[in-house]
Symmetry: C2
């Protein structure tokens, strides 16, 4: 590794307790080189509740990072739904199930009417993979346009449109990269140039796919030109895919979906991570005619996609999101946090919406130091962006004003 | 559709109760055209226990089909493990976790020593997708050899090696298809011919991938020449991937893995479906140097792969498999069932190992009639094979002699 990162560096484990070092070594031996650990002093979590997690020694941490347990760690209603359904039955979608149909209808009711069908998968990667298959079949094109540091998943197909995984050299020859949003970037012009470049190579566009909070690009909530870019893609015969795996389900504090903030009208929407508050469930949602076209070419069945326990968890999560007004909370506490971060006067820029915030520091070294110092002060966050210089703050949605104050206080001390 | 299948035909729903028909229509409207239902009279399951499932009216069915709830529907130990872990914490692999390391070591201990690393995914599709990525990087080749009616998953990459999904016309130009096993088929010769054909096209082989029970090919337990085929692939610079998603975890009644029966020495092993008894977990296991080579090219992280609740479910499932001697039961009851099926004198051939049995009838019409007649007699099975003429019998592993007798009795009446 070139310099410190927010991940554990195994060559620098001398400071750890022997039992922790032993466990890390056993882990590396069995699970191999792909697995990384957060922080130079890794955390061994044992339980969680709301916005707090506790390690095996009972030490409490404020979780300002994990977006998957979106309605709070071990939310009692989600836990009860999982336990009750697991005790009854776990099965797949080839048996008729009223709770599954109810959830499908409930989820679709949160989306524009033209998004008429849902197909359940297990992971956001699978949802995006399915979205691209559908887009390519429907358009007859293969070209895909993504942002410079995009991350959309880990299947072969999706890794080939995710420059944040292996760099641009790992992309497919039908992938075109546009700059990440930022000052002076004309998003619509960049997309138009990518369409023209595909045309020069004789490649018809299949889709523009955007994470509507541009998380791995460094968190950009407001991107002028996005709706115009979408229109250009439509004119060229391509589809627009809104990857809501990270921003979706109310995190941005205004409505359920990130694309609403940009006045986008996507043809396909993919959702995942927070959908089941940790239960593995994701989905691809699309216009009916796209789904019909796809299914006329072959069959699709995902054994675990929408299985009974995952659906029960997803329904409970959606119910809690509404009953506890967590979208409103994300807006109020998110605004408070942005103001507090800005007031600290230490950031190049503070960006974001709701409880998805990027706070940019002068460079990676400072950001990494802050992340590890915060961990030592029992607050969990991470860093993001192409230069890894941006603090990524993305807590469970019940994050309170008191939680925000604790984060701001610790951050003031942790920043060099 | 051309003629009846084992799936529900929506154009023939007149015989159903109005509330069932309404639910089916709502389902089709929301979930679209991909979703199929088993049986002309679909089953609406509400709960399960061991080898029995119960519909919403409390009617009991014998489950002779579902391989995912492998240690029995709603097994109390697995249910308790899921409920306990969900109440504590659900998180990912970037925090240190001793139960995860324990399970990784336990799983690896069931495999040959050269299979040294495990990477957790959510689904078998993701495991096979990762296996191919790794094989292609390690070999520098792209050619993949599969059997005629193979099914390995639903990602873009894996659909391109799964002729059972969309026919051979849906495959990639680097995919080569060999005949399904069967009388007169020289498996090693077919693989050698495929290698030669790849060479003619200037394509280097990356892998031979086989489901070691050849489920979608019609269930073939004994395939002469498979070990020789693997040797030919190795000589040509390719790898051998054992897809254990269906046969693995003891279903075949002799040891944990299907490849052991064929004296295969795979470079990569993929596992899934029964791994968590319904909890979404799967894995790719491989030689360490293959994993290292892959990780030197980029990063891989699967948010839900090996999350806390899935690992708890997988550990409980593995414990039950051993503590209840379910592999021994699969062998004894499987042998009894094969003898009983053969004794019925109605099958062209009865094939299989342990509790993975294919009973071939004269044609699809007879097989479909038998599957629907059995469903009416409250026994759940399905059909498989390229001609869809083979009854697929693949129950939860606690299937008892009494269960086998019930299946045989009902089958004797159900067969035309």
């Amino acid at each position: 590794m070139a310099g410190p990162t927010t991940y554990f560096d195994p060559t620098d484990s001398a400071g750890l307790e022997p039992p922790v070092r032993d466990l890390i070594e056993r882990r590396a031996r069995a699970m191999g080189s792909a697995y990384r650990l957060f922080y130079q002093d890794p955390v061994q979590l044992a339980r969680g509740s709301g916005t707090k997690v506790y390690d095996v020694d009972g030490v409490e941490y404020l979780d300002a990072y994990n977006n998957v347990p979106s309605v709070g760690h071990a939310h009692p209603r989600v836990v009860a739904a999982i336990a009750a359904q697991a005790a009854l039955l776990t099965t797949h979608t080839r048996y008729l199930s009223e709770p599954t149909v109810n959830y499908a209808e409930d989820l679709l009711s949160t989306l524009p009417e033209h998004i008429a069908n849902v197909m359940f998968t297990c992971t956001g990667s699978e949802a995006n993979d399915l979205a691209l298959r559908i887009a390519k079949l429907a358009t007859g094109g293969t070209g895909v346009i993504v942002t410079r540091n995009a991350y959309h998943g880990v299947t072969t197909e999706i890794a080939a449109i995710s420059p944040s995984l292996g760099g641009v050299q790992s992309l497919a020859d039908w992938t075109r990269v546009i700059p990440a949003p930022g000052p002076g970037i004309g998003f619509a012009e960049a997309v138009e140039a990518a369409i023209a470049d595909l045309a020069l190579a004789g490649i018809r566009p299949a889709a523009l796919i955007v994470d509507t909070i541009f998380a791995s690009d460094g968190v950009f909530a407001d991107v002028p030109g996005l709706a115009h870019a979408a229109a250009a893609v439509h004119r060229a015969g391509g589809l627009v895919i809104a990857d809501e795996v990270q921003p979706g389900f109310g995190r941005l504090g205004t409505g359920m979906w990130g694309f609403e903030r940009h006045a986008l009208r996507p043809d396909i929407v993919t959702v995942g991570k927070p959908m089941g508050n940790g239960a593995p469930i994701a989905a691809m949602l699309a216009r009916r005619e796209l789904v019909d076209e796809f299914n006329s070419h072959g069959r699709y069945f995902n054994t675990f996609g929408g299985s009974s326990v995952s659906i029960a968890a997803a329904q409970a999560t959606l119910d809690v999101l509404r009953d506890e007004n967590l979208i409103g909370n994300a807006r109020v506490v998110g605004d408070y946090l942005v103001a507090g971060l800005t007031h600290l006067g230490r950031f190049v820029e503070v960006r974001g919406a709701g409880l998805f915030i990027g706070a940019q520091l002068e460079n990676e070294r400072v950001a990494v130091a802050a992340v590890n110092a915060l961990r030592a002060r029992r607050v969990l966050i991470s860093a993001a962006g192409p230069a890894n210089d941006t603090l990524k703050i993305r807590p469970p949605l019940p994050f309170s004003i008191a939680d925000a104050d604790r984060l701001l206080t610790e951050l003031a001390t942790a920043l060099p």
